[in-house]
Symmetry: C2
Subunit: 162 residues, 2 copies
DNA sequence: CGAAATAAGGATAACACATATCCTTAATCT
DNA sequence: AGATTAAGGATATGTGTTATCCTTATTTCG
């Protein structure tokens, strides 16, 4: 059970977009170059973000993407779910209903106990992702990344942002 | 990102095995019938449990599986990882290393900040699964399942347990 | 107005992995 | 000796991810 690589791409792209000055846009081409990713396929991930309303777009030259909200209002969970979907990782096929000992036509009262426990674990995962915003990530990155690389990347991005 | 259905099967099988009297074994055939599952393929899930040391097996007629530990010592996480593997759901491909602004030969100090956050969420998921044992599940099931079905199933199992 | 650049999205192929079945082997019980 | 079982190898089959290509509509700029 592994998350799509598009989740990783979307998170990195949002991290870049969160550093973009108000009102400017960054293209798929620039984001793909910056991360060494196939432009056409990365485009699908960005479209997912757009469909989820997390980013805004403009067309034409100098077009591209920007965040639809402040970084402090955009959580990891929103980004992950935009790309990966919001379904649970554990799917209950209700195999208890195949028990030959059960009376004909017997109907369960609620979801299977095993499913409930697995879904609680899913929710713990989601709760953690919901608690981290792009602004939190920005603070961590500012400490992690050497100032020269940080600034160099920022200039590189601004040169290409429409 | 969906867990294998074998995870569901393994959990249900372990739930049954946890009700088995000391020293008795239940066969793949019986477990497959009870849950309405393909015997040959369910066998693969049970082999995973065996390889992980969670269940013990015997050969020959009256052979089959029993738990290797007390239900109170066997966690959901162990069962899930036996079938699904213990790898993380988020794989970091270190795409930050493709940043064209970075100096040649520059080497990262540690794992990517995005990966660290995603891995914390994974750990929250694992922590929840680690906190629930088969004994806990047994208590919940005893309350969920009507007594007649519970007892009927128990008899059905005992009739087939070697 | 016309050319270039861009996002959006449909079609399709390649690939990996989950699912499923079949068969052989070795061990165990009656 | 014969029946039953777990273990595991080999081999399909199906589904979802990854990836590429192409068309369309929109916007910017000369």
């Amino acid at each position: 059970m592994i998350l799509k690589s598009q989740v990783e791409w979307a998170l990195h792209c949002c991290a870049i977009l969160s550093g973009l000055p108000e009102g400017r846009y960054l293209s798929t081409k620039a984001l793909a170059e910056l991360h060494g990713l196939p432009k056409e396929y990365l485009s699908k991930a960005l479209q997912s973000l757009s469909q989820a309303g997390l980013v805004l777009t403009t067309l034409g030259p100098s077009g591209g993407y920007r965040l639809a909200k402040a970084p402090s209002e955009l959580t990891f969970l929103e980004i992950v779910e935009a790309v990966e979907g919001s379904g649970r990782t554990f799917v209950c096929n209700n195999i208890r209903a195949n028990n030959p000992c059960r009376p004909q036509g017997y109907c369960e009262s609620g979801p299977c106990a095993i499913a409930r426990i697995m879904w609680e674990a899913d929710e713990a995962w989601r709760a953690k992702l919901r608690s981290v915003t792009l602004a939190d990530l920005g603070e961590i990155l500012a400490q992690d990344i050497p100032a020269d690389i940080w600034n160099g990347t920022f200039e590189w991005v601004l040169k290409r942002a429409g």
